[in-house]
Amino acid sequence: MKKAIVIFLLAVFGFFLAVTFLDPDFEAERNHNGVKNFYLDKTVSQLKTANTVTAIVVNFRGFDTLGEVTVLFLAATALGSILFKKRHHIGDRTVLMPASSIVSAGSKLIFPAIILLGAYVFIHGHLTPGGGFQGGTIIATGFLLMLIAYRDFSISHNVLSVIESFAGIGFVTFGLLGFMNGGTFLQNFMGTGVLNDLISGGVIPVIYILVGFKVAAELTGLIYTILHEKG
């Protein structure tokens, strides 16, 4: 009985999706004069940002990014709240597997390179693919590697929390600065420079670097919390 209901539901769902997306008219009736060309055009001519996706994420739809950063912040906080234990003791770290000497030595070697790669990715977010989210997660994976390889590697929760808070405050403050200078929230109020220069695009790289710090701190904290949950 239950199986039948599930299959019926799946069939209805699949039918709706297929009727929409696999219909030959779907492509033909599309309105191609949407916002796309405006974004591509303005990114080059006004924002002087090479990477259009970055321009959209940080400037055109920067409000979404603010919300998204908040979602990550909430997720990290919620994790701490849900896994909270009565007596405030931190359990042993979960050991995924005992790290051999090759792994630990190799991790030490790779770790700085990963951090450097992450920093490169978010500093060049407005020029090349990548940006704050990507760079931040790369840095977090670097810390994850160290946490797995060395049992006594630890990170201060307070330091992470301070970095996270300052990056978040910086984001909102830059938004409010635009509010005071140019008239609207998150407005690009700094000089935009020359396309494809490292220092170009006004506030876009600044905000994306702040996002990078925030994402890195949040994800590292999140992994740290969940790693210290021993059954």
């Binding site: 709706f16 999706l17 009727v19 929409t20 219909d23 008219d25 779907f26 009736e29 599309r30 309105n31 191609h32 949407g34 916002v35 796309k36 405006f38 974004y39 303005k42 006004q46 400037n59 055109f60 739809r61 920067g62 409000f63 979404d64 603010l66 919300g67 998204e68 908040t70 979602v71 912040f73 909430l74 997720a75 906080t77 919620a78 701490g80 709240s81 849900i82 909270f84 405030h88 307070n158 929390s161 301070v162 996270e164 808070s165 300052f166 978040g168 405050i169 909102v172 403050t173 938004g175 409010l176 635009g178 509010f179 140019g182 008239g183 609207t184 929230f185 998150l186 407005q187 690009n188």
Partner: protein, 500 residues
Amino acid sequence: MVGSPVLLIAIPLLAAFLIPLFGMVWKESVRIVPGLVLAYLTYLSASLYIEVINTDTIVEIIAGWRPPWGINLVFSPLTGFLTTIMTFMGFIVWLYSYRFKRNVEFEAAKKYFIFLMLLVAGSVGIVITGDIFNQFVFIEIVGISAYALTAFYTGRDSAEAAFKYLIMGSLSASALLIAIIIIYSQLGTLNMAEIAANIDNMNPYYRIIAMIFFIIGIGVEAEIFPLNGWAPDAYTEAPGPVGGAFSGIVAKAGIYAMVRMMFTLFDIAGPMKILIVIGLITLIVAETSALRQEKLKRMLAYSSIGQMGLVLVAFGMGTKAGVFAALFLMLNHAITKPMLFLSGSFLTFNTTEKYIKQITGMAKKMPVVSIIFVLGALAITGFPPFSGFWSKMAFLSAAADENLLFIMATILIISIFEVVYYFRVINRLFFFEYDDKISVEPHKPGFNGMIALFVLAFIVLMIGFYPSSVTGFIDLAADDLLNTHQYIDKVLQLGQTIIQ
């Protein structure tokens, strides 16, 4: 110019990032700062609302790009009305829970207040945003805060309730995303006004499918029938004041999103019938379930779902009178249901199961709280001269104008149901002797909690005796919702402030 709508979002987010820093310096500040923020939001929202009523709708641009391209916030008589209610209720809930976990656990209290503040901020965001993807982001903010608040107590079955809520919430978020994909692919825009202006160019099949996915996506927050399985559990397991926040704030935001979508986005013939059908099913199922509940909070949760169904039916009539009645019902419910949750939470303070039989004879021990509870029960069932009476009258006259006799009869029968299950509680509360074996230990209510309850009770009485004090505002809000062209024009003709 007193401020700008964007501050309604920016200030709580800024405060949320600041609170961990403040907490390191002065522990009490994690309680005070959210309260100050919510009080400021209430002030800002109320003053903006007055300005909007006297002058014109404010359309706020973000990042300097005018509406079809950038995200915009719309602060109109309708959204201002809802925002003011929500921020005010957020402040009341904060006031009630000010002493929450005091002197016990600092970390837990810090997180509780951050979640509460962002719950309010996210709900306000759902209401004032003018962009569908931005609305999705705010729905996720509300969702994650709500999951975390539901799972807040570790001792109870709260993780189950939160898990249920999370699965439903994220499935519906996926549906919402699919609807956004269909709309974006066909119209090439995400702006609500632009969508509303171009919706006629869209193939009707795609329009209907997108609308179905939208209903699934928003239905979880709006608590409509097949998607509200999470609600009774979440309301029961969450901390007492959070139940009030869910019914007073989150459900209102969900209903708004639903109604905005139906009235403005998908302006096709027939959607109103869908609203009536969904609303009636929700109403009947919820109210009949409420009759059978043994737990106080569960009963209140079902009652809350039922009221949401009633609101949807009223919106579904589609006429001016219907929308007026619906907004009036929303206002009354936003004030009365948190009052019931908060006073009920005081009555059952020292028990984790919250059975109705455990409050037997409590009226003699806690007379003031009991009287406030009764006031709320009378107001929500629609006894004159309390606030609920006027909204139910407005509803019935709106239905009578449209000759919807079946709906009128159903509402009257449902009202009898409501009277039955509320009087079951009142009967136990007042006319039974206090019994040590079944009743709980009375709890001495805190000073701040009592102030919150008194403020709410005052508002209920005020609306009850002077309904004309609010009907003017509701009238303007109803006009605003029905005038789709005005909404589109206001948003799209705002080409002056674009940066050159």
